[in-house]
Amino acid sequence: MQSLGSIRRDFAPWNDPAAKPYIVFDQVTKKFGDFTAVNNLSLSIYEREFFALLGASGCGKSTLLRMLAGFEEPTSGRILLDGQDLRGIPPYRRPVNMMFQSYALFPHMTVEANIAFGLKQEGMEASKIAERVAEMLKLVKLEQFAKRKPHQLSGGQRQRVALARSVAKRPKVLLLDEPLGALDKKLREETQFELMDLQQKLGLTFVVVTHDQEEAMTMADRIAILDKGEVMQVATPAEVYEAPGSRFVANFVGNVNMFEGTVTARDAAGASIDSDSGISIRTENAGDAQSGAKVAYAVRPEKIKVSSRPPMDTASNAAEGEIYDIAYFGDMTVYYVKLGNGLVVKAASLNSARLTDDPLTWNDRAWISFKPDSGVVLTR
């Protein structure tokens, strides 16, 4: 049977009704004066999960993280950690640690002292502290930088010190606020895998806040997409991408072509849609759309084929148009095809061969086509 892929095959506690969530946001609302940062939000995160809160700035994702860390108290609602209500527990007594976006390394302390800071607060023995610090330094590959001050390190090294400091206490939950935001692209990609590796190795629960969907898609087991303080969808990266729950999510994550239209027929195998742009679409993924409903049909650019000839396969949805623009990225080419009524459809084609036998250029007549299972129907 075909399915949406997942990275950790044997890890899906959210599908297991017997699994008890580790962190629970229960109808949490947070207001700053008149501004509602988080609006009646409920969310469950499971133990050992790598959970990402994804959203544009101001969507409330950082506020959620700060409430979990204890820097903000919810205006109403409860936050539970391992069954314990966190209300009233100050940040310094919570079994969670945070890696700050600015890293917040103590500038007057060496790398060593920064990592040891939390352990000293616990009253750990000096010899054990030294041991743990050495272990942490090794984990983030900074052994030879132990005696340096933060300003003597590069951005990537500082990021690793911040990480080592936040996991040194072996918290139950590690909160990461835009952990890779300040790194350049290449370093960010490397560090993503290091973070995932670390999470596996230490067996911790990670909650990461990010505005970078690629980052969230790469690292997280599940992603919560937030908008205006509300959860739009919580799902695995593949589900979020291939089965978005709403127009907002489809638009927010990745590129999408959206055909607004009306359902003309609904049957067990799927639905037929008359799109406002004139083409009729047959889809196998109709969700809960009823006949006559105003819906959007969302299909990703890479699932649309562009060709100078009409498709042979009569089951495919197809439309004729004109090449309006071409964006060449090397690995792929995105064609902007203008349909008869002016709708521009994006179609990405992977350049898997160096040479093409169907060269298309500006103003060429072209056919777009996509299979019935390529897109999804969105009612919201």
Binding site: G70, F71, R93, N97, A104, F106, K149
Partner: protein
């Protein structure tokens, strides 16, 4: 033509014009640095040399009341003759009379104690200002600077009205029944402390404020996140990071407080021994300019030498930190 060759010709023509501009820039750079040096030379070094010269000469009943050391009208031989007459007698005199030693020590102690008190009062103020909403900070800053708009002398005089036995403070305390005898504050060290703390508070608050204001609050959050309660976080993070401000503020208060004259004279009464007052007496009451110049020179050395040493140490520490 290859790109490398092209860029080479470009850079060589760039160097031709660059020579002229870099020379000009070097000269301009020197000129900019010369301004503060010239300022210090004119208004610090030359006056100091004059005072130092006076401290080496003898008193005389004349105007000004000392033997002129350099009389250029007598030519080179006269210059040498007068150079021979220079002596450190006035400095020896300072060691013979315990008055001066006691005045120095008492000044340093009073200044030290009041600097500490100013720090105690100023730190919470600066901290509160730095944590206040950003829109409120300019107003608070203005309030700190506002007293400077009134004459220093008048503000110290005003304290007499507050502190004297029948003054405002005693009237208030008697009225609300906290005390039944007026407190004797005037003409005591307490009055001097109050005067110095009040007068020099802005000099303490401003450097502290600027050190605390630029501190990243997420550092405190990070400390708390790692298990550090707020009080402990203050001593482990906030205070060490504000140390440059603490040092700057303390120097700005301590240095003028050691030589302070107006406050001990007006609030401290006749028993208070402070070097500024001694200096004033030597100059204006005894008209002994050479001795008072010697007092001033010693005072300067007393303050400048430790500061220079301290700054050197700090510069070295910073150098190591880089």
């Amino acid at each position: 033509m290859s790109n490398a060759a092209l860029s080479q010709t470009e850079s060589s023509t760039g160097a031709d014009t660059g020579l002229g501009t870099s020379l000009l820039r070097a000269v301009a750079g020197r000129l900019v640095i010369a301004v503060p040096y010239l300022w210090l030379l004119l208004f610090f070094l030359i006056p100091f040399v004059i005072v130092f010269k006076i401290s080496l000469s003898q008193t005389a009943i004349a105007m000004p009341p000392y033997v002129p050391v350099f009389d250029l009208s007598e030519g080179m031989s006269g210059l040498f003759a007068s150079l021979r007459e220079l002596s450190f007698e006035n400095y020896l005199w300072l060691t013979e009379d315990a008055l001066y030693f006691n005045a120095y020590v008492s000044s340093l102690m009073i200044a030290g104690a009041s600097t500490f008190l100013t720090l105690l009062v100023g730190y919470p103020i600066a901290y509160g200002m730095a944590r206040a909403p950003a829109t409120l900070r300019p107003v608070l800053l203005m309030l700190v600077i506002l007293p400077f708009w009134t004459s220093f002398l008048i503000r110290v005089y005003a304290w007499i009205g507050i502190l004297k036995p029948e003054g405002l403070l005693n009237q208030f305390l008697l009225a609300i029944g906290v005390i039944d005898q007026p407190l004797i504050i005037m003409n005591t060290h307490t009055a001097i402390f109050i005067g110095i703390v009040y007068s020099y508070l802005p000099f303490m608050v401003l450097p502290l404020y600027s050190a605390l204001e630029k501190m990243d609050y997420s550092l405190i959050e990070a400390a708390q996140d790692l298990g550090c309660p707020p009080t402990s976080a203050f001593w482990k993070i906030t205070f060490p990071l504000s140390l440059p401000g603490v040092v700057a503020g303390c120097l700005l208060v301590f240095i003028p407080a050691v030589g302070e004259f107006v406050i001990p004279d007006l609030l401290g009464g006749s028993q208070t021994l402070m070097i500024g007052k001694t200096l004033w007496n030597e100059f204006f009451a005894n008209r002994d300019w050479p001795v008072s110049s010697a007092v001033a020179v010693i005072l300067l050395l007393l303050l400048v030498v430790p500061i220079v040493l301290f700054q050197n140490a700090q510069a070295r520490a910073q150098e190591q930190g880089r």
